[in-house]
């Protein structure tokens, strides 16, 4: 085996060969740099490889950079951050946003629950109507009045754009529940959920712009001060 062949088969040769790229970019620690210097001095193969790596490094470095448009890209990032801030309700970085997302998730859960309640109420109402039709004659005389759902104290019409969540919030506030409706005309029959007077419930309903109409279905009991 020749001297050169012995060098190329040595562990030192393989280890130094692996370090050559970082010798080329001048980031090796001083001890490793000296090690490469010493080996390259006696190894023709590594000298050739070193020269080749310098050419490749030079060629890669000389490749023209593509000039992108940082400001246009930044605007897109800003739009994403704005959207995130709006949905999370905060401009703060993620950990704070994660905390802020929790109430939002709670609100979502409440919305879903409210929708489920509304759907259940409507289904129950539909079932009640079917039952009523089954047990009552399917005609009405000119002198008879339309049957009133049990417990109905208020009839109301809401804006067609109202969401189920908004509707449920208004009903909760006025302590009312849906017992029937909406009819084809959009009329809901509402029953009281508490001892709150009908007048008070009506006042609470009427303060919302999404309540188009709200009236009691029976005369208010006479006041104690009335003669």
């Amino acid at each position: 085996m020749t001297h050169d062949r012995r060098i190329e088969n040595s562990a030192e040769h393989h280890e130094v060969s692996e370090l050559l790229p970082w010798y080329v970019n001048e980031t090796l620690a001083e001890r490793d740099r000296q090690r490469v210097d010493a080996h390259v001095g006696v190894c023709a193969s590594c000298r050739e490889d070193l020269a080749a790596q310098r050419r490749i490094c030079q060629a890669i470095d000389a490749q023209p950079a593509v000039d992108y448009m940082p400001v246009a890209s930044l605007k897109k990032l800003q739009a994403r951050l704005d959207a995130q801030a709006e949905s999370g309700g905060s401009l703060a970085p993620p950990k704070e946003q994660a905390a802020n997302r929790l109430p939002w998730r709670g609100w979502m859960a409440a919305s879903i629950a409210a929708m489920a309640v509304a759907v259940a109420l409507l289904a129950a109402d539909r079932w009640a109507q079917v039952e009523a039709r089954r047990t009552q004659p399917n005609y009405r005389t000119v002198t008879s009045s339309a049957p009133r759902p049990q417990g109905e104290v208020i009839r109301a019409v809401f804006s067609p754009t109202i969401t189920l969540v908004e509707l449920q919030t208004i009903l909760d506030e006025a302590q009312l529940r849906i017992v029937s409706g909406p009819t084809e005309a959009g009329v809901y029959s509402l029953a009281s959920n508490s001892t709150l007077t009908v007048r008070a419930s009506l006042a609470l309903l009427r303060q919302h712009s999404t309540v188009r109409f709200a009236e009691g279905t029976s005369p208010e009991p006479a006041s104690g001060n009335s003669p």
Binding site: C57, V66, P94
Partner: protein, 194 residues
């Protein structure tokens, strides 16, 4: 966020990251603009499509925005950011199976190319690099263009130093097969490059 001009780039980056961790959007924008060019060049090794490069850069800075608080100075800010970009790009690359750079040199074992005639060296090298597996191509870029040390590349790519050495070794060997003049015999090429 205004960082005094006398600060070194490393100090400036650290100061900006601290500001970002408190929710400072202007600091994020400043850091973004200072990194955009080098990240765009680095990511162009993944894909030549501008919209992909832009998307990866913006995904990277969304992570920077979200994770600035978790940065613990275990590495340089630049290493951290480039590491995020590297991992984001790899995920994107793996999602896009029809990527133009997905072919490896092993698919063309018999082919070699030399710069002859009017072929420009940079085009020829770009073509050769595009035949390398993406990890090897990026290791070359990180070392030879961005000037990162072995340890920094290990941190950026989140793998052991031995793996980085192996990737570089295989990249060199494949370039030697594919670009024999550039990788081996000097001939008149060094003069053309120089």
């Amino acid at each position: 966020m205004l960082v005094p001009a006398k600060n070194s780039p490393k100090e400036r980056d650290s100061a900006l990251l601290v500001a970002i961790s408190t929710g400072d959007r202007r600091a994020l924008e400043e850091l973004y603009l200072s990194y955009h060019r080098r990240l765009a060049r680095f990511l162009s090794r993944f894909t030549s499509r501008y919209e992909n490069v832009e998307e990866i850069i913006n995904d990277t800075f969304m992570v920077v925005w979200q994770s600035a608080k978790d940065f613990r100075n275990a590495s340089q800010v630049s290493t951290w950011i480039i590491g995020i970009a590297y991992r984001t790009a790899l995920k994107s690359f793996r999602r896009q199976k029809n990527h133009t750079g997905a072919l490896s040199l092993d698919d063309y074992p018999e082919q070699t190319v030399d710069p002859t005639g009017d072929t420009e060296v940079s085009d020829w090298l770009k073509h050769g690099l595009s035949r390398l597996p993406v990890e090897q191509r990026l290791t070359l870029e990180l070392a030879y263009h961005m000037g990162h040390s072995l340890e920094e590349i290990a941190a950026i790519t989140d793998c052991p130093v031995g793996t980085v050495k192996a990737r570089m070794f295989h990249a060199r060997e494949k370039l030697r097969q594919y670009l024999p003049t550039l990788s081996g015999a000097p001939s008149d090429l060094s003069a053309r490059i120089g």
